[in-house]
Amino acid sequence: MTLLLFTVLALIALVGAVGVVMSRNAVYSALFLLVNFATIAVMYFMLSAQFLGVVQVIIYAGAIVVLFLFVIMLIGGQIGPVTVGGRRYARLLALVLGAAFLLLVVLGLGAALPPGEAPLGAPQAGSVQAVGQELYTTYLIPFELASILLLVGMLGGVVLARRYRELGKD
């Protein structure tokens, strides 16, 4: 049952991922990305990581892809295929870099995961309580550092937007 579900979900996720790259229309790419994120959220639920699943939906589906769509529409969301100015060496480069990234991921995962079947966490390991407990005790400092980083990023955004506006006034 679980295996079957996983296979189906994994297939959908793969289709979504391939669709992101393959579709000619930027809006379709964003939609495929959305499909991919949604299936990954479901996979989190299957691993009893409810919190992660919901957060995946809120942040990726609810905010990031919406922003993608927003930007695509702003810079001309015309219907119809987008022509890509394809230079041959650019495609080659993309292929090489993609392969390198894949290698990196495989090697990295291989080193991080213990051989054999990965042990599942305790049933409640992904619940809000568990995540909160871990976040505010063991990983408090990294968590706070990350939040400071986000704050800096936000301030940077505000400053950039402000400067742009003042320039526009002249």
Binding site: G62, V66, L67
Partner: protein, 342 residues
Amino acid sequence: MIIVITSVIKSLVLILLLLTGFAYLTYYERKLLSRFQVRIGPNRAGPRGLLQPVADAVKAIFKEEVVPDHVDKVVYLLAPALSLIPALVAFAVVPLAPDLTIGNFTLRFHIADVNIALLYILAITSVGTYGIILGGWSSNNNYSLLGALRTASQMISYELPMGIILVAIILTTNIGRETGTLSLVEIVNQDRPWWLWLWLWLAFPMFFITMLAESNRSPFDLPETENELIAGFQIEYGGIKFALYFMAEYISMITGSAIMATLFFGGWHGPFATPGTWYGPIVGFGWLVLKIIVLLFLYIWVRASMPRIRYDQLLQFCWKILTPLSIAYLILTAIIVALAAP
């Protein structure tokens, strides 16, 4: 297995209830608006116009399905459904009535009691944006595109204060317990001291404003603004596809009212809604419906008496007033909870 069967039955009944609720909400709104506007309102179909929603539904269903030539067909057809589904599924975590025990079988009047209910609501409302954005984009029309752009920025912005107020409410669930909870069922059943009720009601206007913005209701109905964008994102939709958008808006109003009733006004709790009795669930459900109707009245009242805010003013209001206020509320709540916690 039994849990699957009961869940399916409960879902079906709930959807049926919501669709009927939607139909009569349109009647309720039209009648109320006409009262506000010194008119009579629908009074031709059936006694006192009670069959008006039926007539509207029949009309919408039998209209010719027009798909304009210049639209992106797949997304165009998908978008109304994408808009309706989140509005429907958000109801899954709302407790409708106290449990009913017959013998050793307990019937629970909610579909899912998950410990992430509030997060789930946030997630679902954030996904609800897609139907509107995609509908606006796929229509390939300047007006609908403007509507879609407005939706995107409006909904993302108003999710922020809504989330912050929800966090404040979650914090208060710590009072009198070891840990807090995100489950609506537990929140409803929790005893709150009177001062906590007062403190929560302080946040209600803010939360109500965010709910207005999230369900695109006047004065925040900028994605559709009939006066400048004509109908905004739904300009190219007609017949049943338009009805689906309409349904989504009204059902999200009902859902929003149910959530507000649950968070701020004790959900199904009320006199005679005693858990464990045979009449408890009926009375409890009645109380919830009554609270929802009163809250829906607020939505319509606002629509009848407020001019529409402008797009940039909407965002300014969100970022410069509502968000700081909600953050201040969150901080004060945290202090209160810290003082009250044992």
